[in-house]
């Protein structure tokens, strides 16, 4: 479901073609109010990691989709939008910090246009340290929100330990249905605690 990410290659068959710009525009304009509502909610869940406003993250994602970012037609438009937002969120924080120091205001992120992206590995120790502090603060805020709920704490711990499926159910001492309910509760709790965007 989730589209490309600069760190994670999209799952696409070698023969699959990419969307044309016109197809992307048509696909975006065809999204229903419910889909747009989902995107708005998801942007709130992703923007804080990038230290961006949700609206800016969504705008940046739309803009890239209709200008330079590419995606296989195997991924639906919702997946393309979400993947693009995730990609921006995954790198924007350290870029923003660096740009502020360098005096530039834009957040240039290399296009995923099938060509070779500019090297993005030149992260300074300062950037790394700032990012680590920022991400640790995000986790602290999440932990504070679920401090009164032992099951959600176990869920977050399990997820952060890389547990999935049955192992996660065992960690929570529950079944598939109970795990699904806990996940939903976690998402709702974060949404209510951070109406302008969870620190994820």
């Amino acid at each position: 479901m989730i589209a490309e990410d600069e760190d994670r290659e999209p799952d696409k068959a070698p023969t699959a073609r990419n969307y044309t710009v016109d197809e992307v525009i048509a696909g975006l304009l065809a999204l229903s109010d419910v889909d747009l509502g989902r995107l708005e909610g998801i942007s709130k869940g992703l923007a804080r990691t990038a230290d961006m406003e949700p609206r800016d993250l969504l705008h940046e994602a739309f803009h890239r989709m209709v200008t330079r970012r590419t995606c296989s037609i195997d991924v639906d438009i919702m997946g393309f939008v979400i993947g693009t937002m995730q990609s921006i969120a995954s790198t924007a924080y350290r870029r923003r910090k660096r740009d502020v120091e360098e005096g530039t205001t834009s957040i240039p992120i290399a296009a995923n246009d099938g060509g070779f992206d500019l090297a993005d590995d030149a992260v300074s120790p300062e950037d790394e340290a700032l990012s680590r502090i920022f991400y640790a603060q995000c986790l602290d805020r999440i932990e504070a929100v679920i401090a009164d709920d032992e099951e959600l704490q176990l869920l977050v711990m399990g997820l952060c330990d890389g547990l999935l499926g049955k192992k996660l159910e065992e960690a929570l001492d529950t079944d598939t249905k109970g795990l699904a309910a806990a996940r939903k509760r976690l998402a709702n709790r974060l949404r209510r605690a951070f109406p302008d965007g969870a620190p994820l």
Binding site: G37, E40, T49, Y135, C160, K184, L190, L200
Partner: protein
């Protein structure tokens, strides 16, 4: 797993839960203002991209307009007329036909000798 990866795992849960919500649940927390904001955001992004495409097209058109035009000639008379009216073009055409090698004058003697020889062959043939 570092903190960034942990956050990404939690992000995935939030995203998946959003996608799993029923339309009624989604619309429960989506205000008309939220929807208008997303729609205007989308329209602005598409308009910006359109302006960028138009600007690129204008630059390309301007570059194309500066390229030398190709002139289609359909007959020998037309070509002779163009050559007669444009000395520079005539010179270029001659040079192009000669693949840019030395001037006509340098070869003139040799050409005249070849023509004489051909004429002689014709005359000999006629005699035979």
């Amino acid at each position: 797993m570092d903190d960034k990866e942990k956050l990404e795992r939690l992000q995935d849960v939030v995203v998946e839960e959003f996608l799993a919500m029923s339309p009624e649940e989604v619309m429960e927390f989506t205000t008309p203002e939220d929807l208008e904001s997303v729609k205007s955001n989308l329209a602005a992004a598409i308009a910006e991209a359109g302006r960028a495409r138009l600007a690129r097209a204008k630059v390309a058109a301007a570059a194309d307009a500066r390229r030398p035009r190709l002139v289609a000639l359909t007959g020998g008379a037309e070509l002779r007329l163009v050559r007669a009216n444009d000395a520079v073009f005539d010179k270029k055409l001659t040079l192009a036909a000669r693949k840019g090698s030395a001037s006509y004058e340098a070869d003139q003697t040799g050409i005249e000798e070849d023509l004489d020889e051909l004429r002689r062959w014709d005359e000999d043939g006629d005699l035979a």
